[in-house]
Symmetry: C2
Subunit: 160 residues, 2 copies
Protein backbone atom coordinates (compact mmCIF):
# COMPACT_ATOMS: atom_id res chain seq x y z
CA UNK A 1 0.00 0.00 0.00
CA UNK A 2 1.48 3.37 -1.01
CA UNK A 3 1.29 6.30 1.46
CA UNK A 4 -1.46 7.90 -0.62
CA UNK A 5 -3.50 4.68 -0.75
CA UNK A 6 -3.02 4.33 2.98
CA UNK A 7 -4.22 7.85 3.84
CA UNK A 8 -7.43 7.62 1.82
CA UNK A 9 -8.20 4.10 3.08
CA UNK A 10 -7.75 5.45 6.62
CA UNK A 11 -10.29 8.23 6.02
CA UNK A 12 -12.85 5.80 4.56
CA UNK A 13 -12.26 3.49 7.53
CA UNK A 14 -12.96 6.33 10.01
CA UNK A 15 -16.22 7.00 8.17
CA UNK A 16 -17.36 3.35 8.23
CA UNK A 17 -16.47 3.02 11.92
CA UNK A 18 -18.74 5.94 12.75
CA UNK A 19 -21.54 4.69 10.51
CA UNK A 20 -21.35 1.33 12.29
CA UNK A 21 -21.40 3.03 15.70
CA UNK A 22 -24.51 4.98 14.70
CA UNK A 23 -26.13 1.88 13.24
CA UNK A 24 -25.61 0.06 16.52
CA UNK A 25 -27.08 2.97 18.46
CA UNK A 26 -30.16 3.72 16.32
CA UNK A 27 -31.12 0.43 14.67
CA UNK A 28 -31.78 -1.30 17.97
CA UNK A 29 -34.24 1.28 19.29
CA UNK A 30 -38.01 0.77 19.49
CA UNK A 31 -40.45 3.32 18.09
CA UNK A 32 -41.05 4.68 21.60
CA UNK A 33 -37.34 4.91 22.43
CA UNK A 34 -36.81 6.84 19.18
CA UNK A 35 -39.25 9.47 20.44
CA UNK A 36 -37.03 10.35 23.44
CA UNK A 37 -35.27 13.71 23.50
CA UNK A 38 -31.48 13.73 23.90
CA UNK A 39 -31.89 16.38 26.64
CA UNK A 40 -34.97 18.24 27.92
CA UNK A 41 -36.49 20.28 25.08
CA UNK A 42 -33.85 19.15 22.56
CA UNK A 43 -34.06 17.00 19.42
CA UNK A 44 -35.54 13.54 19.59
CA UNK A 45 -33.47 10.50 18.59
CA UNK A 46 -35.72 9.87 15.58
CA UNK A 47 -35.00 13.38 14.33
CA UNK A 48 -31.24 12.93 14.66
CA UNK A 49 -31.40 9.63 12.80
CA UNK A 50 -33.52 11.03 9.96
CA UNK A 51 -31.30 14.12 9.87
CA UNK A 52 -28.19 11.98 9.42
CA UNK A 53 -29.88 10.02 6.60
CA UNK A 54 -30.90 13.23 4.79
CA UNK A 55 -27.41 14.73 5.17
CA UNK A 56 -25.72 11.52 3.97
CA UNK A 57 -28.17 11.25 1.06
CA UNK A 58 -27.16 14.75 -0.08
CA UNK A 59 -23.53 13.59 -0.25
CA UNK A 60 -24.33 11.40 -3.29
CA UNK A 61 -24.62 14.28 -5.81
CA UNK A 62 -21.88 16.28 -3.99
CA UNK A 63 -19.44 13.44 -4.68
CA UNK A 64 -20.67 12.84 -8.21
CA UNK A 65 -22.19 9.51 -7.17
CA UNK A 66 -25.59 10.08 -8.72
CA UNK A 67 -28.94 11.56 -7.75
CA UNK A 68 -30.30 11.62 -4.22
CA UNK A 69 -32.31 8.59 -3.14
CA UNK A 70 -34.53 10.29 -0.52
CA UNK A 71 -34.95 14.04 -1.04
CA UNK A 72 -38.42 13.66 0.52
CA UNK A 73 -36.73 13.47 3.93
CA UNK A 74 -35.54 17.10 3.78
CA UNK A 75 -38.72 18.87 4.95
CA UNK A 76 -39.04 16.42 7.85
CA UNK A 77 -35.44 16.17 9.02
CA UNK A 78 -33.34 18.96 7.52
CA UNK A 79 -35.06 22.19 6.56
CA UNK A 80 -37.57 22.06 9.42
CA UNK A 81 -36.85 21.66 13.12
CA UNK A 82 -37.88 18.62 15.14
CA UNK A 83 -41.53 18.40 16.25
CA UNK A 84 -42.67 20.34 13.16
CA UNK A 85 -43.64 17.49 10.82
CA UNK A 86 -47.07 15.91 11.38
CA UNK A 87 -46.01 12.45 10.25
CA UNK A 88 -42.65 10.70 10.57
CA UNK A 89 -41.36 7.60 8.78
CA UNK A 90 -41.44 4.37 10.79
CA UNK A 91 -38.31 2.95 12.41
CA UNK A 92 -38.32 0.15 9.81
CA UNK A 93 -38.42 2.67 6.95
CA UNK A 94 -35.60 4.73 8.46
CA UNK A 95 -33.44 1.63 8.85
CA UNK A 96 -34.05 0.76 5.19
CA UNK A 97 -33.16 4.30 4.01
CA UNK A 98 -30.10 4.39 6.28
CA UNK A 99 -28.70 1.13 4.91
CA UNK A 100 -29.54 2.08 1.32
CA UNK A 101 -27.88 5.52 1.46
CA UNK A 102 -24.78 4.46 3.39
CA UNK A 103 -24.39 1.36 1.23
CA UNK A 104 -24.48 3.41 -1.97
CA UNK A 105 -21.98 5.91 -0.51
CA UNK A 106 -19.54 3.24 0.61
CA UNK A 107 -19.50 1.58 -2.82
CA UNK A 108 -18.63 4.98 -4.31
CA UNK A 109 -16.03 5.83 -1.66
CA UNK A 110 -14.23 2.51 -2.17
CA UNK A 111 -13.93 3.21 -5.89
CA UNK A 112 -12.09 6.53 -5.39
CA UNK A 113 -8.31 6.79 -5.70
CA UNK A 114 -6.30 9.47 -3.86
CA UNK A 115 -6.57 11.60 -7.01
CA UNK A 116 -10.38 11.25 -7.01
CA UNK A 117 -10.50 12.31 -3.35
CA UNK A 118 -8.39 15.38 -4.12
CA UNK A 119 -10.80 16.45 -6.90
CA UNK A 120 -13.30 19.22 -6.31
CA UNK A 121 -16.77 18.37 -5.02
CA UNK A 122 -19.70 19.40 -7.19
CA UNK A 123 -20.84 22.39 -5.10
CA UNK A 124 -17.63 24.37 -5.72
CA UNK A 125 -16.86 26.22 -8.96
CA UNK A 126 -13.63 25.63 -10.92
CA UNK A 127 -12.58 29.14 -10.04
CA UNK A 128 -13.11 28.75 -6.28
CA UNK A 129 -11.42 25.36 -6.35
CA UNK A 130 -8.34 26.85 -7.99
CA UNK A 131 -8.13 29.34 -5.12
CA UNK A 132 -8.82 26.72 -2.47
CA UNK A 133 -7.86 23.14 -3.42
CA UNK A 134 -8.97 21.92 0.01
CA UNK A 135 -12.60 22.15 -1.14
CA UNK A 136 -12.29 18.61 -2.38
CA UNK A 137 -14.21 15.36 -1.96
CA UNK A 138 -12.13 14.34 1.03
CA UNK A 139 -13.14 17.55 2.82
CA UNK A 140 -16.78 16.50 2.37
CA UNK A 141 -16.08 13.01 3.72
CA UNK A 142 -14.25 14.35 6.80
CA UNK A 143 -16.88 17.00 7.42
CA UNK A 144 -19.71 14.45 7.28
CA UNK A 145 -17.78 12.05 9.52
CA UNK A 146 -17.40 14.85 12.09
CA UNK A 147 -21.07 15.76 11.70
CA UNK A 148 -21.98 12.15 12.44
CA UNK A 149 -19.74 12.10 15.55
CA UNK A 150 -21.26 15.39 16.71
CA UNK A 151 -24.78 13.97 16.70
CA UNK A 152 -23.64 10.60 18.09
CA UNK A 153 -22.28 12.47 21.11
CA UNK A 154 -25.77 13.93 21.58
CA UNK A 155 -27.70 10.72 20.90
CA UNK A 156 -25.78 8.87 23.61
CA UNK A 157 -27.15 11.33 26.20
CA UNK A 158 -30.81 10.34 25.72
CA UNK A 159 -32.29 8.59 28.75
CA UNK A 160 -32.53 4.81 28.23
CA UNK B 1 -0.37 20.70 -4.80
CA UNK B 2 -0.16 16.95 -5.53
CA UNK B 3 -3.15 14.74 -4.64
CA UNK B 4 -1.27 13.34 -1.65
CA UNK B 5 -0.35 16.81 -0.37
CA UNK B 6 -3.96 17.86 -0.84
CA UNK B 7 -5.45 14.94 1.10
CA UNK B 8 -3.23 15.40 4.15
CA UNK B 9 -3.68 19.19 4.15
CA UNK B 10 -7.44 18.58 4.06
CA UNK B 11 -7.27 16.33 7.14
CA UNK B 12 -5.19 18.87 9.08
CA UNK B 13 -7.63 21.60 8.05
CA UNK B 14 -10.61 19.58 9.39
CA UNK B 15 -8.73 19.23 12.70
CA UNK B 16 -7.96 22.96 13.00
CA UNK B 17 -11.55 23.90 12.12
CA UNK B 18 -12.85 21.78 14.98
CA UNK B 19 -10.21 23.07 17.40
CA UNK B 20 -11.26 26.62 16.51
CA UNK B 21 -14.92 25.76 16.98
CA UNK B 22 -14.17 24.34 20.43
CA UNK B 23 -12.00 27.32 21.30
CA UNK B 24 -14.85 29.67 20.46
CA UNK B 25 -17.25 27.62 22.54
CA UNK B 26 -15.14 27.08 25.68
CA UNK B 27 -12.79 30.07 25.87
CA UNK B 28 -15.60 32.59 26.19
CA UNK B 29 -17.27 30.92 29.18
CA UNK B 30 -17.14 32.26 32.73
CA UNK B 31 -16.14 30.04 35.67
CA UNK B 32 -19.81 29.65 36.61
CA UNK B 33 -20.90 28.82 33.05
CA UNK B 34 -18.18 26.16 32.91
CA UNK B 35 -19.80 24.45 35.89
CA UNK B 36 -23.04 23.79 33.98
CA UNK B 37 -23.92 20.22 33.00
CA UNK B 38 -24.55 19.48 29.31
CA UNK B 39 -27.75 17.65 30.34
CA UNK B 40 -29.19 16.81 33.77
CA UNK B 41 -26.75 14.57 35.67
CA UNK B 42 -24.24 14.54 32.79
CA UNK B 43 -20.71 15.95 32.47
CA UNK B 44 -20.07 19.61 33.15
CA UNK B 45 -18.57 21.84 30.45
CA UNK B 46 -15.36 22.26 32.44
CA UNK B 47 -14.92 18.49 32.51
CA UNK B 48 -15.38 18.20 28.74
CA UNK B 49 -12.86 20.96 28.14
CA UNK B 50 -10.25 19.47 30.47
CA UNK B 51 -10.95 16.02 29.00
CA UNK B 52 -10.26 17.31 25.49
CA UNK B 53 -6.99 18.91 26.64
CA UNK B 54 -5.85 15.68 28.33
CA UNK B 55 -6.74 13.59 25.26
CA UNK B 56 -5.00 16.02 22.89
CA UNK B 57 -1.94 16.17 25.17
CA UNK B 58 -1.63 12.38 24.94
CA UNK B 59 -1.46 12.66 21.13
CA UNK B 60 2.02 14.26 21.39
CA UNK B 61 3.88 11.01 22.27
CA UNK B 62 1.53 8.93 20.07
CA UNK B 63 2.64 10.96 17.06
CA UNK B 64 6.30 11.03 18.07
CA UNK B 65 6.08 14.75 18.83
CA UNK B 66 7.68 14.58 22.26
CA UNK B 67 6.63 14.10 25.85
CA UNK B 68 3.25 15.10 27.24
CA UNK B 69 2.96 18.66 28.55
CA UNK B 70 0.19 18.09 31.13
CA UNK B 71 -0.06 14.49 32.36
CA UNK B 72 -1.28 15.93 35.69
CA UNK B 73 -4.68 16.49 34.05
CA UNK B 74 -5.38 12.75 33.68
CA UNK B 75 -6.68 12.00 37.20
CA UNK B 76 -8.98 15.04 37.02
CA UNK B 77 -10.30 14.76 33.46
CA UNK B 78 -9.54 11.34 32.01
CA UNK B 79 -9.17 8.41 34.39
CA UNK B 80 -11.78 9.68 36.85
CA UNK B 81 -15.36 10.74 36.12
CA UNK B 82 -16.62 14.29 36.48
CA UNK B 83 -17.44 15.51 40.01
CA UNK B 84 -14.76 13.23 41.50
CA UNK B 85 -11.81 15.63 41.79
CA UNK B 86 -11.82 17.98 44.79
CA UNK B 87 -10.04 20.81 42.99
CA UNK B 88 -10.20 21.83 39.32
CA UNK B 89 -7.88 24.13 37.34
CA UNK B 90 -9.16 27.68 36.75
CA UNK B 91 -10.65 28.69 33.39
CA UNK B 92 -7.52 30.80 32.75
CA UNK B 93 -5.25 27.80 33.37
CA UNK B 94 -7.34 25.58 31.09
CA UNK B 95 -7.22 28.16 28.32
CA UNK B 96 -3.42 28.29 28.64
CA UNK B 97 -3.06 24.49 28.55
CA UNK B 98 -5.49 24.25 25.63
CA UNK B 99 -3.55 26.76 23.51
CA UNK B 100 -0.20 25.25 24.48
CA UNK B 101 -1.15 21.66 23.62
CA UNK B 102 -3.02 22.42 20.39
CA UNK B 103 -0.29 24.82 19.28
CA UNK B 104 2.40 22.18 19.79
CA UNK B 105 0.32 19.59 17.92
CA UNK B 106 -0.37 21.87 14.97
CA UNK B 107 3.32 22.68 14.51
CA UNK B 108 4.00 18.95 14.39
CA UNK B 109 1.08 18.16 12.09
CA UNK B 110 2.15 20.81 9.61
CA UNK B 111 5.62 19.28 9.39
CA UNK B 112 4.30 15.83 8.35
CA UNK B 113 4.32 14.72 4.72
CA UNK B 114 1.84 12.16 3.36
CA UNK B 115 4.48 9.48 4.06
CA UNK B 116 4.80 10.62 7.70
CA UNK B 117 1.01 10.44 8.10
CA UNK B 118 0.98 6.91 6.70
CA UNK B 119 3.62 5.79 9.25
CA UNK B 120 2.62 3.80 12.30
CA UNK B 121 1.76 5.63 15.52
CA UNK B 122 3.85 4.80 18.58
CA UNK B 123 1.25 2.64 20.37
CA UNK B 124 1.23 -0.06 17.67
CA UNK B 125 3.96 -2.69 17.26
CA UNK B 126 5.79 -3.23 13.96
CA UNK B 127 4.13 -6.62 13.72
CA UNK B 128 0.58 -5.30 14.21
CA UNK B 129 1.24 -2.45 11.82
CA UNK B 130 2.33 -4.88 9.11
CA UNK B 131 -1.00 -6.68 9.50
CA UNK B 132 -2.99 -3.44 9.64
CA UNK B 133 -1.37 -0.45 7.90
CA UNK B 134 -4.39 1.70 8.78
CA UNK B 135 -3.09 1.99 12.35
CA UNK B 136 -1.13 5.03 11.25
CA UNK B 137 -0.75 8.62 12.41
CA UNK B 138 -3.59 9.82 10.21
CA UNK B 139 -5.95 7.37 11.93
CA UNK B 140 -5.05 9.04 15.25
CA UNK B 141 -5.69 12.51 13.81
CA UNK B 142 -9.09 11.52 12.37
CA UNK B 143 -10.08 9.68 15.52
CA UNK B 144 -9.23 12.69 17.72
CA UNK B 145 -11.04 15.06 15.35
CA UNK B 146 -14.14 12.87 15.63
CA UNK B 147 -13.73 12.69 19.41
CA UNK B 148 -13.64 16.49 19.51
CA UNK B 149 -16.81 16.74 17.38
CA UNK B 150 -18.54 14.17 19.59
CA UNK B 151 -18.00 16.27 22.71
CA UNK B 152 -18.72 19.54 20.89
CA UNK B 153 -22.15 18.13 20.02
CA UNK B 154 -22.68 17.58 23.75
CA UNK B 155 -21.23 20.90 24.91
CA UNK B 156 -23.61 22.84 22.68
CA UNK B 157 -26.56 21.34 24.60
CA UNK B 158 -25.65 22.97 27.94
CA UNK B 159 -28.15 25.62 29.05
CA UNK B 160 -26.87 29.16 28.43
Amino acid sequence: MTPEESVVATAVHAWTQNVERADKLFSGLSESQLLKEVAPGRNRLIYLWGHLIAVHDAVLPLMGLGERLHPELDPVFLTEADKTAAVLPSAADLKRYWDEVNGRLLTGFRSFTASSWAEKHTAVSDEDFNTNPLRNRLAVLLSRTNHLSYHLGQAILAPK
